[in-house]
């Protein structure tokens, strides 16, 4: 699954948000979202496939780190909207300053 598919699920988006503050073990994530361990593992597997998290074994636990690079794809997708709005805002400024 690619980055868009991975982000299409609200739990996975929350997991990514939780990982923004630092790596967490799978068990800690399960506790935060009141989800079963298997459910969390499944979401983490999807995020890993999409390259959005990396896994680090520490002793008996596996820690998950946020890997933000693939999010650039989402940013690229939004970029045309940003350009659009910048041009609209300039048009608004010109209109207001010249005609109102």
């Amino acid at each position: 699954m690619d980055v868009f598919g991975a982000l299409a699920n609200p739990v996975r988006r929350q997991v990514l948000e939780a990982l923004r503050d630092g790596p967490l073990a799978a068990g800690e994530l399960a506790g935060r979202f009141a989800l079963s361990r298997p459910a969390v593992s499944e979401h983490l597997a999807v995020l890993r496939t999409a390259g959005l998290v990396t896994e680090e074994p520490r002793g008996r636990h596996r820690y998950y780190h946020l890997a933000a690079d693939p999010l650039a794809e989402v940013h690229d997708w939004l970029h045309p909207f940003e350009r659009y709005w910048r041009s609209r805002l300039r048009a608004l400024r010109d209109f207001v300053e010249e005609d109102l």
Binding site: F4, A8, V74, P80, F81, S87, R88, E97
Partner: protein, 130 residues
Amino acid sequence: MSSIECDQFIARPPSVVWRALTEPDLMASWWARGDIKPVVGHRFTLDMGEWGMQPCEVLEVEPEKLLRYTFAEGALDTTITWRLEPEGQGTRLFLVHDGFAPDSMPLRRMGGGWPKVLAHLARTTEADRG
């Protein structure tokens, strides 16, 4: 999760900028035609040209300060928020276009659609302005 934020200084007081955001004839001059009204719950459509008529609903109104409405329900399912702050003799206008939730729409499919149209629109409008 994903939002666009822009701001623009306009050398006119917030009361004037507010009119350009809330009066249909004025809004049509710089953006799109639509029967907008600064009244919470008011539903209107914006004529987005090649994208068709987009349904919207006013969510929040603070006259001359803040205007928030849904944008393109059923297509983009996003929210547009305009915030006006006095700055010197003019206004600093802040725009937030957010709610680009990847679960509301298959983004990839749109990837080839809206952005291309947007890019085209941006080029056209920039050319118009010289």
